[in-house]
């Protein structure tokens, strides 16, 4: 049993599973859960991409 995703795929998986749990546990209504889950997912991915570009620019 072996699984070796790319770094970005790992980020997407992490963001997805974590956002689902955050959405369900941190909000009370289904609509608010979906909205908050999407918000968390977007932040996870956006911050990761932003930090990646920052590290790339710092390294140059």
């Amino acid at each position: 049993m072996s699984f070796a995703p790319s770094h970005f795929a790992a980020v997407l998986l992490f963001a997805t599973f974590t956002s689902v749990v955050f959405g369900i546990t941190q909000r009370a209504t289904p609509r608010a859960m979906v909205r908050y889950g999407l918000y968390c997912w977007s932040l996870f991915v956006a911050v990761t991409i932003g930090a990646s570009w920052l590290m790339f620019l710092v390294r140059r």
Binding site: A4, P5, L13, T16, V21, I24, T25, A28
Partner: protein
């Protein structure tokens, strides 16, 4: 809900939602009859744990010499039954040889922490602290 409403046998039932939610991801929500939430939590936490193992992530063992190892163990313990199954099967003990193994270790720890949150949420639903 007042504490007086939680007396007697009900108190045990409420704690059972917390313990069940910890042992099996989503089981606490199943007890509160939130089927879809239970299924989504089970799928998310279970998949995250087993993907972490498949990525050759580490399962922390009880220890007293490494503070980070102790915290990792507490996080892993949050996955409930899966942690014990993983230990019985001898999973998560291989030497880390690939970069994704470090991600796998984090996947397992975070799956446990998310399950703690999920179990507490089920408890809050059960006692009425959170609106259903």
């Amino acid at each position: 809900m007042a504490d007086s409403d939680l007396a007697g046998g009900k108190r045990a039932a409420f704690s059972f939602a917390l313990v069940a939610g910890w042992l099996i991801p989503g089981a606490g929500h199943l007890l509160t009859r939130h089927w879809v939430r239970a299924l989504l939590l089970f799928l998310s936490i279970t998949t995250m744990f087993w993907l972490g193992i498949a990525m050759q992530g580490k399962l922390y063992q009880p220890n007293t010499d490494d503070p980070l190892g102790m915290l990792g163990f507490l996080g892993d313990l949050g996955t409930g039954v899966f942690y014990f199954v993983g230990n019985v099967l001898g999973l998560g003990r291989a030497a880390v040889q690939v970069a994704t193994a470090d991600y796998g270790t984090k996947f397992v720890v975070v799956a446990g922490l998310l399950n703690f949150i999920s179990a507490v949420d089920a408890h809050n639903l059960r006692i009425g602290r959170k609106a259903a």
